[in-house]
Amino acid sequence: MTHSSDFNAEKASNLKVIGTRPARPDGVDKVTGRARFGADMNLPGQLVGRILRSPHPHAIIKSIDTSAAEALDGVKAVVTRDDFAENPDNHAVLCNVMAREKALYEGHTVAAVAASTATIARKALKLINVDYEPLPHVTDVDAAMQPDAPVLHDTIFTSGVDPVPTIPSNIVARCEFGHGDVEAGFAKADIIVERELKTAATHQGYIEPHACVASVSTDGMSELWCCTQGHFDDRKICAALLGIDVSRLRVTASEIGGGFGGKTTVFIEPVALALSRKAGRPVKIVMSREEVFKASGPTASTSMRVKIGVTNDGRMTACDGEFRLQGGAFEGSPFDSAAMTAFACYDLENVKSVAFDVVVNRPKGAAYRAPGAPMSVYGVESVVDEVALKIGMDPIEFRLKNAVRDGSQSSYGPKFGPNGLVETLEAAKAHPQYKTPLGPNQGRGIASGFWFNYGGETCSNLNINADGTVTLAVGTPDIGGSRASMCMMAAEELGIPYDSVRATVVDTGALGFNEGSYGSRVTYASGLAIINAAQQAITEMCKRASMMWDIPADAVTWEDGYAKPSGANAGEFEPMSLAEIAAIAANTGGPIAGHREHNADSAGISFGTHIVDTEVDPETGRVDVLRYTVIQDAGKAIHPDYVEGQFQGGAVQGIGWALNEEYIYGDDGKLQNAGFLDYRVPVASDLPMIDTVIVEVPNPGHPYGVRGVGETGIVPPLAAVANSVSAAAGVRLSELPMSPPRVLKAMDDAKQAAE
């Protein structure tokens, strides 16, 4: 890492733009409907693409006859598995994008058509004759792990176990993290609590369905417009699946109507390209909401066992967890991060965390905000709550007693550096909500959570325009207000007003490779590239000024937007503004720009603590969220409103996950609630105003101290809400979602057990 990326305390305490709350540059376009999202693009001659999906959760595809569809007037192309070559490096994505030997879930793509109208396309789908041989299916993670379960892939032999099994199963892999001796630790415990818990699969629930327009020329030059979190990633995978050079595919990211991790991979994009290549015309595919639920990438459902031992004075002696995650029909559930994050909040002598990646007949999962962590932390924080209750200790005091600090050994390996967990807990203890009296049938829940945050491959450009304004070219789609924060960082470094800087998310032809907008990495990694690019431009501007003044370049410094002579040999010159230097750039060597390419690390771990008060209706089991506070370490908030927006958004998705949202499968292996009518995301009346507290413990790896903030906010709420509802209901809830029927049953069962 360059020296400039390290925390600069003096700089961080003298920031002028960072920490203010300017209006977002994309705000007006969004309220006027001018912002162009995935489905808002149309090209001349464009065809309508539609996808034929498997009605079976598990079936051999014996044959596909497309002749009748192809013969239909208005049909310009039909594609099936035969149009995609085998691709060993991207086998799972390929098979997910277009089924090969088997359909592995209801909704799995089997064929696609491009036609002149939507009506013709729909008719054509009905004319495609697929001969299926249905097979037994399994959708539950525990059932899929049984020895007699229907096996999805005869190529999966569990990795991470010794010896490697000789027969295939649905268990893709086992992983283990931890240190110490948990059995010895439990022997030292005064109290041990062990529980089995479950969470349901949920969907990211972005309001914008996946949409793309693909156009392939006869010479192979290809364009793709799509809503995505990572258009460079899309280019890479689409080029690979279609066998075209990366240089021949240009991908443009539209405005993105929510992603939360779910738009970090491809579904319809390679299909649209294949149809366009075959039809010789542009093809647009837009998913319906039902397709989004059935055939995009929901999150894992989980089952888990968590065991924690404590002494009577509140010290955790051992933690042991087993986490079982299904990631849909292909490998790749976030089982490893579930295991790594589960106990990450605690400074433990003895910890063991095991997780399994399991395949079932469900759509292939995609990332969802801190993938894996909300579920395992739900299990751990539920049991933490229970042990604290058992020894009669305040849940915040208990966490403070065991919390990781600077230098603590993490439960998954590395030593933690400076971090804000203790600060979030102290802030929770001091928050007025924590002292608000509770009424009958009300309960309060606390939970903490952790996320790694990511850096990654990044590349940004900064251009000084002749009129003294500045343009930023960024390769990471703006999913959380990053254009504003990029402009703020550039303005801060250059010493010019925020309004003089504009950022554009540019297409793949305009920058080097950028990983997508995921891992809470954008403000950190793209922002750091912008800061570095600005510093490079400043160096160049100082050089240009020195040329005008005819003094050595190192005799010029940059201060508040001006080049100034400095030092003994500099001489007396009027400072030159950025605009003045820019205006004469043509005469001093041409355009002035800065750029930065890096593989950023030191993203800065982040912890959060949530407080939630709920009330339970004892007659119907309905839960009302009364008050909610998110407290999280942001390192340094660039735009505090957007940081709070991330906190609130994460918390509310977590509330939905905790109380209502779930994928409901019938015995037939089909999804029963593939629509917003029955997949219930929270509406305005479900929520109180979410209060927020931004804690700022600087990230030592960033000049301002920035940490990622996007994901940690969804980690604590499942547990916090569960702890709150359990307190209100007087019985421990151990399965999500805590829908009214489940809460009522738990209360009834507890009543009966007491009688």
Partner: protein, 495 residues
């Protein structure tokens, strides 16, 4: 009869002819007109990303209502004016206060839902003469708009503060022009919009409606299309003949006389809610929780009944209120108790060519004896797992009559006759209620589905009787988490 439809889109006259009459307004906006500011998030009226404002003349004044463009068939807009987000822009490119407030509060993150939120707020702003909304009203106005990024906080703040911003300069002039333009579109001809194999009729009088339905007894009758719209967008049904009731004069009539409330079958929930809340406070609150503002602005009480769904919320309430259904074939009227209309799942007592004309509801001496409970996973904009409605009268401590009806407990909305019998003549006590619980299994054997299990339905249906008893003897607010007592009934129009 006219062979084309006419409506205003952003102030300009559009004619609809020679196109599929089940073309949705949303597809027309996005595909034909390239007005892509209106978004498609679900195409089933759940997410509100496609919200537009439909204005029409009501008693000589212009009424503005937010609706979901995704489930409005284009010819349903006959004689109305549609405003999309593209038209909110004021003179000189200024933002409407609802838009400016969203910008100022950072009410957009991804921004995909934002045009829909802006239109819902715009309709509320226009309805309330430029006032901001209190939190309860904002919840109501926005219950049909999903946002997944913000947690709604900044959007609620925008709703609360939009009234503090300067009113748009185009206000009065544009309103007067819109009034004149709508007046110019008024006519009483039947409108027919047809394609090669579909036809859509929009009659203007009851007589013509009855005649058309007699001529095409297989026609699909559409009022608000909040259900039929989904037959087209989700199930891709091809509807051959459609008769639209929204223009039929007098069909949305609401009147009280001789201690009877008469609701025309064409009255939308929004049309009826104030009158309902006035006479039956709990029914007002129940209706406020049906769908969302957009759905209530389109959907009708008559449609909720005629549709015959076992989980419609109006039927159990109206059965408990001893409502009479007025059916009509041609000129002939027939009156039946509402409960007799529901014969079996998907089967109603409705002859070919016969339609629901009105519902007659006897008023109550003591409206607070009537209570409704809608159990859902989510409080607003959700389909009932169980809907229980109670009207028990007590004389000298004895139950003199009991009408209890449930939705979601059987294949039809159904009275709990055995439970009622176990109450009548007994002392109105907790013991009597508890003794009646065992009778539920004689009345109901509910199904298990994704909304609730059979056990939950049965258990909560029983609990609702207990809740009804407790609420009759204790102050309301201590026993209700939310609902009447904490939120004013009155829905979209309460100011």
């Amino acid at each position: 009869m006219r062979d084309h439809g006419t409506f205003l889109l952003n102030g300009e006259r559009h004619e609809i002819r020679d196109m599929s009459p089940t073309t949705t307004l949303l597809n027309y906006l996005r595909e034909d007109q390239k007005l892509t500011g209106t978004k498609e998030g679900c195409a089933e009226g759940d997410c509100g990303a496609c919200t537009v404002v439909v204005s029409e003349l009501v008693d000589g004044a212009v009424q503005h209502r937010a609706v979901n463009a995704c489930i409005q068939f284009l010819p349903m807009l006959e004689g109305k004016s549609v405003t999309t987000v593209e038209r909110l822009r004021g003179p000189g490119g200024t933002l409407h206060p609802c838009q400016q407030a969203l910008v100022d509060t950072h009410g957009s993150q991804c921004g995909f839902c934002t045009p829909g939120f802006a239109m819902s707020l715009f309709a509320a702003y226009e309805d309330r003469q430029g006032k901001g909304l209190d939190r309860d009203t904002a919840n109501d106005v926005l219950a049909g708009n999903l946002c997944r990024c913000t947690g709604y906080g900044p959007i609620i703040t925008a709703a609360e503060t939009m009234g503090d911003l300067p009113a748009p300069q185009w206000g009065e002039d544009r309103a007067a022009r819109e009034l004149r333009a709508l007046e110019a579109l008024c006519h009483t001809d039947t409108v027919k919009v047809a394609s090669t194999d579909q036809q859509f009729f929009a009659p203007a009088t009851l007589g013509e409606f009855a005649e058309l339905f007699a001529e095409f007894p297989d026609a699909t009758i559409v009022a608000g299309a909040t259900d039929v719209g989904l037959w087209v967008t989700k199930r891709h049904m091809h509807l051959k003949t459609i008769i639209y009731t929204g223009r039929v004069q007098g069909f949305a009539h609401i009147a009280v006389s001789d201690n009877t409330l008469t609701i025309g079958a064409g009255a939308t929930y929004s049309d009826a809610i104030q009158t309902l809340a006035e006479h039956f406070p709990d029914l007002g609150e129940l209706v406020r929780r049906i769908g969302s503002t957009q759905v209530r602005n389109a959907g009708t009480i008559g449609g909720n009944i005629a549709n015959g769904s076992p989980i419609g919320d109006c039927p159990p309430a109206l059965i408990a209120l001893n409502a009479t259904l007025v059916l009509r074939t041609g000129d002939a009227q027939r009156r039946i108790p509402l409960e007799d209309f529901f014969v079996d799942y998907g089967v109603q007592d409705r002859k070919p060519g016969e339609f629901v004309e009105a519902i007659e509801v006897p008023l109550l001496e003591n409206p607070d004896q009537f209570r409704c409970y809608k159990l859902t996973k989510r409080f607003d904009q959700d389909i009932s797992a169980v809907c229980g409605c109670f009207h028990v009268t007590v004389d000298d401590g004895q139950v003199s009559s009991a009408r209890i009806a449930y939705g979601g407990m059987a294949a039809t909305p159904k009275r709990a006759s055995a439970v009622e019998a176990a109450l009548v003549g007994k002392a109105w006590t907790m013991e009597t209620c508890e003794a009646a619980l065992s009778k539920f299994s004689e009345d109901f054997s509910p199904m298990t589905d994704m909304r609730a299990s059979s056990d939950y339905r049965m258990r909560s249906a029983q609990n609702l009787l207990i809740k009804y008893f407790v609420e009759g003897t204790e102050p309301l607010s201590t026993t209700r988490l939310v609902g009447r007592g904490s939120t004013i009934a009155g829905g979209a129009n309460h100011a």
